[in-house]
Subunit: 599 residues, 2 copies
């Protein structure tokens, strides 16, 4: 059984967990009927299953390589990319004006889910093109839009994000790349960038690099950084591709995973001939980059969960197939598929529950993203913007941490076979490992959550969420269903504890940040488990109702309720296990003389 | 800073956490003074640091390979192995009669710790030789001992364990390899074995395979399995090496990690000329194999923790060295080493605390192993045997699961650099991944704990342990030290919860095993966090006393107290997060129609 994008599950998560109806209600989109949604998901699934999934294994074995200064991608990538562009998968959520389809970003996220689960190292490149489009839509000049946007929305040309330098990773304040005005409105760019995904490749006719650099006499630190558009091939005023810009791939990294995705060291202006144009205002480059970075963080959370789903499918297939052992205490007789062992089912349910909880958070996050931009009701839009802000670091960090656990269990279900590369279970584990690091490490996400996000209205964003989770838990209890009642009660317990920790954290960050910062990671984790449980439980309550409406699908809805109930019984309580670490405070991590730590 | 075996830490764990004084008190060993212990650890450390550690990276890049039917090991392994044999590192705990040094197994475990942390794929082979020695000491005939033991104790010849076959992994009941009597006391062995670590290599003159096989007309299932000694090269009655036995390496696995350790598919008797001799009684092979398997499980727990330590050292070095960011809210100025960020220290302390908690459990386990065999007091020996039995699955599973977390954090501390293979952080993560699988998957360890171990005296082994943990927690509170008081109170809370879950589990396994089996893994995890906390806390209480005795080392003892306190504040509470999953019962993992799980 190869990878199979789970259309029904995704549709369920959008409709029942993530309030997709609210996106429908904006009236900002033409047809968002369930039939239409299903058709889009089915088509995306077909593309992912049939075109991308078969490339996943080969992308690991024959990864991208650098040859004579050019990156050659995995055999088959080029052809698949052409089909991806032609089918219009990249332009789902972009304006019709630029060749897009004007669908919600939440629908585009479902397409991302399909592609990433099939072959993350292929889909990785398209994610960055998407980010570049969003940046140009928001900050590009009319000229930049005219010359580049049409090509980028379709992904006929691809995009990159160039932030890091050897001395500047999480800390972009120390960026050194220079941009010197040429006097004709263009800039001379000079500097080295690292960690540039798809910095070069052979699948698109041109590559549009968005590069952070400093103007002469720009202020020090993060407030002196500007964003520049630097094409691989220069583009004339009619949009025709001209000569090669002074942009070079220095090397590509040998990585733990995602071998198919070239991670490049890029040199701009080695010969002082690298020409770029300013995007947005001077010195606002970092701020503007974060506009697209935030959307990219939701994508990263989703891509991690997508790989989790793929890993789950593989493990499930193995468990149904592999005979080993008998019922406890039975010493002889034929072996039974390991699926029949309770501990193996625990493993499998854990994988699926963590995956769907993660996806539910990401979808809810992107629904909020859509509402914030498209709701005609300013109150709805404002509240949605807050929810988007709150959930973004959680989507990114919680989903990627859980995907690592999921793919790890995927290996474990295979036993010794999981450790053998041929099986493919280990590839998911290796491929997904980077998701906790790029687009801001998960530690940075924790700081974003307790610093910036809790800082907005002294915790208001979190309290609003907790109120919603509490109300939903009451609704679960009110259903009278035994499983949902138990789940609701557990949720109330955990949400209450989260409220207490939030109060502590808001106060700590205001009075003594070191106190709060010591607990950022466990606070984000605690929040994540509760957010995941909240959206699954919401889905389960809705499924109970849907069962009545459509008894023919009762078995499917029951399976969703079971996953939510499993999560609340087994995984949600982990939040309690994290809570004490949040408030342990600065003293718990006070510096110890390092040479005494390991002696 | 290359790998540095932490002599002081290991000595501390033995003396202050693991009751090594009780081994001294047996009087079964000559000099076990602290000076002597330190000298052994220093020497082992030197060998590990200077000879093995430099091979670790190369073992990953130039792993074992099969050439013309022979396994060629990593360049440098052969020379290191010769030195390992000559230095006598393999024979530490074996009887002087067979060339050993008659030191406690708990000291040998410290030597294992040194070697595994330096280069796991090298040390892996010696672990199996050790296991083979233990099997022959217990069950070998006088002739087998005379011909093989002397060579195996020194590791001049190496040993292997041959259990799995393609259809028989966790489920050894279905082993098919056959052993037919030749009429002269030898047996003709025929069958295929998989997952044979160091099934072939070029470092020793001979390889002694211990092979599970079935005699003609043996009963079905696990009670019809016998153990055979099958040398790679036949050995004449004077112990001279003769012709090649009919033993062949079919292939070696391409694995996620431990590339330096050849994992072989072995064919015995392809030409019906494979001669072996019976070890132990007919049909008792599996039972006897488990005698050495249990000791090997403690070794696996330790090897995982050893890699955790290596990963910690690398991450610590990076954190002290890498400037990135400033204090929270400070927007400009020079970057500070990331060690100064509270979240990074949380990561590092988590790594060290989990590593030392794991090592403490393993040492306490092996101290019990020593006492069970060498204490002159039968009551002490009996209680120690029970403790050994209880802790073995925890040593194996908890340590390996935590080492995976530790090495994962090791990558995370490095940021993007952690994902690049050149750094080496990822190698620890890949190498250690197998430890949760081999020598019985961690799921199997959970079943062993709740089935066999809780079954002994209806939970007596666990209750005795919990009583001890409670008493120790009271002692922590009684110290009056604020940190230890808080730690003791948390421990009492967690130990109480463990007692409740143990009562539930004992009853469930007696009345309806499916109920209990659904919670085996979380029960083991819960137990593991409490056991780790118990031994660290014990060490901390003792350190408080030691500080008074030796004020010159107060800083070091304080650092140990800090690690224990960090663990109890931040990691021990995870036990609370696991507790509800233990008793969620069979219903929580009841089978759902698999096609509905991902749709």
């Amino acid at each position: 059984m190869p990878y199979n994008f789970p259309v029904k599950d995704v549709q369920f998560l959008l409709n029942h967990s993530a309030d997709f109806d609210q996106v429908r209600a904006t009236g900002a989109f033409e047809d968002l009927s369930d039939d239409f949604l299903e058709a889009v998901l089915e088509e995306a699934g077909k593309f992912a299953n049939d075109i991308l999934a078969p490339l996943n294994r080969i992308s690991d074995q024959q990864g991208a390589r650098l040859e004579n200064g050019r990156v050659i991608t995995t055999p088959g990538f080029k052809e698949a990319y052409k089909q991806y562009v032609e089918a219009g998968w990249n332009s789902v959520a972009f304006p019709e004006e630029w060749g897009g389809q004007n669908l919600p970003n939440s629908v585009a996220l479902a397409v991302v889910d399909a592609m990433q689960g099939a072959c993350i190292s292929f889909a990785m490149g398209t994610m960055l093109t998407t980010a570049a489009v969003k940046a140009l839509l928001a900050f590009g000049t009319e000229e930049q839009k005219r010359l580049y946007l049409g090509k980028l929305t379709t992904a006929e040309w691809s995009g990159t994000m160039n932030l890091s330098e050897p001395q500047a990773g999480s800390d972009l304040a120390t960026i050194k790349t220079k941009a010197t005005p040429n006097g004709d409105g263009t800039y001379n760019i000079k500097g080295q960038k690292i960690w540039i995904s798809y910095g070069d490749h052979d699948m698109a006719d041109n590559i549009v690099h968005l590069v952070l650099a400093r103007l002469p006499d720009a202020p020090e630190g993060t407030r002196g950084i500007s964003m520049f558009l630097v094409p691989k091939f220069r583009v004339d005023s009619d949009g025709n591709i001209g000569e090669h810009n002074d942009v070079k791939v220095v090397s590509i990294e040998e990585k733990l995973g995602q071998h198919g995705s070239p991670t490049c060291v890029m040199a701009y202006g080695d010969n002082d001939q690298c020409i770029g144009t300013l995007v947005g205002k001077e010195n606002e480059g970092l701020k503007n980059m974060f506009v697209m970075m935030n959307a990219a963080r939701i994508d990263v959370g989703m891509q991690a969960a997508s790989v989790g789903e793929a890993s789950f499918q593989k493990a499930l297939e193995y468990a149904l197939d592999r005979p080993q052992g008998r019922k406890f205490g039975v010493k002889a007789g034929p072996a039974t598929p390991i699926w029949n062992h309770p501990d193996v089912r625990r493993n499998l349910y854990t994988m699926k529950a963590l995956t769907d909880a993660s996806k539910a958070i990401c979808f809810a996050n992107m629904v909020a993203y859509d509402l914030a931009r498209r709701s005609p009701d300013p109150d709805v839009a404002r509240a949605a913007k807050e929810r988007e802000e709150l959930l973004t670091p959680i989507s990114k960090a919680f989903s990627s941490d859980r995907a690592l656990e999921t793919t790890n269990i995927g290996i474990q279900v295979h036993g010794g076979m999981g450790y053998v590369e041929e099986t493919g279970a280990a590839q998911f584990f290796r491929d997904v490992r980077i998701c906790t690091i790029y687009e801001g490490t998960n530690g940075i996400q924790g700081i974003d959550l307790i610093g910036r996000k809790l800082g907005m209205g002294s915790g208001k964003l979190a309290y609003d969420f907790i109120d919603e989770a509490m109300a939903n838990a009451d609704a679960a209890i009110a259903t009278g269903d035994a499983d949902l009642k138990r789940a609701g009660e557990r949720m109330k317990l955990e949400a209450k504890s989260l409220r207490q920790n939030t109060e502590w954290m808001v106060s700590a960050m205001q009075t003594n940040p070191e106190e709060g910062l010591a607990g950022g990671t466990p606070y984000l984790d605690q929040f994540g488990y509760i957010a995941g449980g909240h959206y699954l439980l919401k889905g389960a309550i809705s499924a109970l109702e849907a069962k009545k409406q459509d008894p023919s699908r009762a078995d499917y809805f029951d399976s969703r309720i079971h996953i939510a109930s499993f999560y609340c019984d087994n995984l949600l309580p982990r939040a309690s296990g994290l809570a004490p670490a949040v408030t342990a405070g600065a003293q718990t991590v006070e510096p110890v003389e390092p040479t005494l730590l390991s002696a």
